[in-house]
Amino acid sequence: MQRAIERKGIPTISITVARDVTEHCQPPRAVFVPFMMGHHFGVPFHSELQQRLILAALKHLVAAQRSGQIEIVPVTWAQARQEGKAIEQAMSIRN
């Protein structure tokens, strides 16, 4: 699908949590985040992280020089979860 959109002259970027799957289907551009399936943009209520991941993807959309390049976003699931838990705890205290 990404290839079909790119062939229309529209640049594309995908955000993937399955690096091997992405390496097999070789989309024009992709960023990999080492997160759990279904959590491509991080953890609940962590708006800053969610936004940072979108921006990382858009940065690669602009910067990629060759087709098929997969950029790795420097984040870890452990840290995202830890921060997410702290955010949820703070929210439950407020409520």
Partner: protein, 166 residues
């Protein structure tokens, strides 16, 4: 090992092999590369669209057929100004524990609205595009759904597309 190392590991390694063993012929492998299309304007002027295989759809639209053995080759338009409360998820292939608390972890519609409002991106297409990732006939998928969504994206005059293969 740093997180930025090329050795950064995914949480579910061997996914391609696992699925291709279970559902032979369902996984896509490409040997060629498509030439890169170039962004013709700065991001701050570009109209962005979002394409998702997460099975997110406006409440009240026909639910995706998650039980069909071959998959559901239809897609839904999701208004880009929708609120998460107006959307629901129909799919059974990825964990939704995060998304059920905050849809933005898989369908970051509010973050995209904020980036557009802040002028980081020029704007959003009127609709985003959504389907389910369970597709067992890749040739049919490429021939039909992929082309239909590509046409719909072009028709909404997107300058760039963010895709999230769930």
């Amino acid at each position: 090992m740093t997180a930025h190392s090329s050795e950064a590991k995914q949480l579910r390694p061997g996914l391609w092999e696992t699925i291709n063993e279970r559902y032979p012929g369902s996984m896509i492998t490409k040997d060629d590369l498509v030439p890169l299309a170039r962004l013709r304007k700065p991001l701050s002027e570009a109209r962005l669209t979002f394409v998702s295989s997460a099975g997110v759809q406006p409440k009240g639209t026909m639910p995706f057929d998650v039980a069909h053995p071959i998959g559901d080759f239809s897609f839904r338009r999701v208004p880009s100004d929708a609120s998460p409360a107006a959307l629901e998820i129909h799919q059974i292939k990825y964990p939704t524990n995060g998304a059920l608390k905050d849809l933005n972890v898989i369908f970051p519609i509010e973050r995209l609205q904020e980036l557009a409002a802040a002028g980081v991106i020029g704007g959003l297409t009127p609709n985003f595009f959504s389907f389910i990732g369970y597709q067992m006939d890749p040739a049919r998928f490429e021939r039909t759904l992929a082309e239909e969504i590509a046409e719909a994206v072009a028709a909404e005059r997107a300058d760039a597309a963010l895709l999230c293969p769930a």
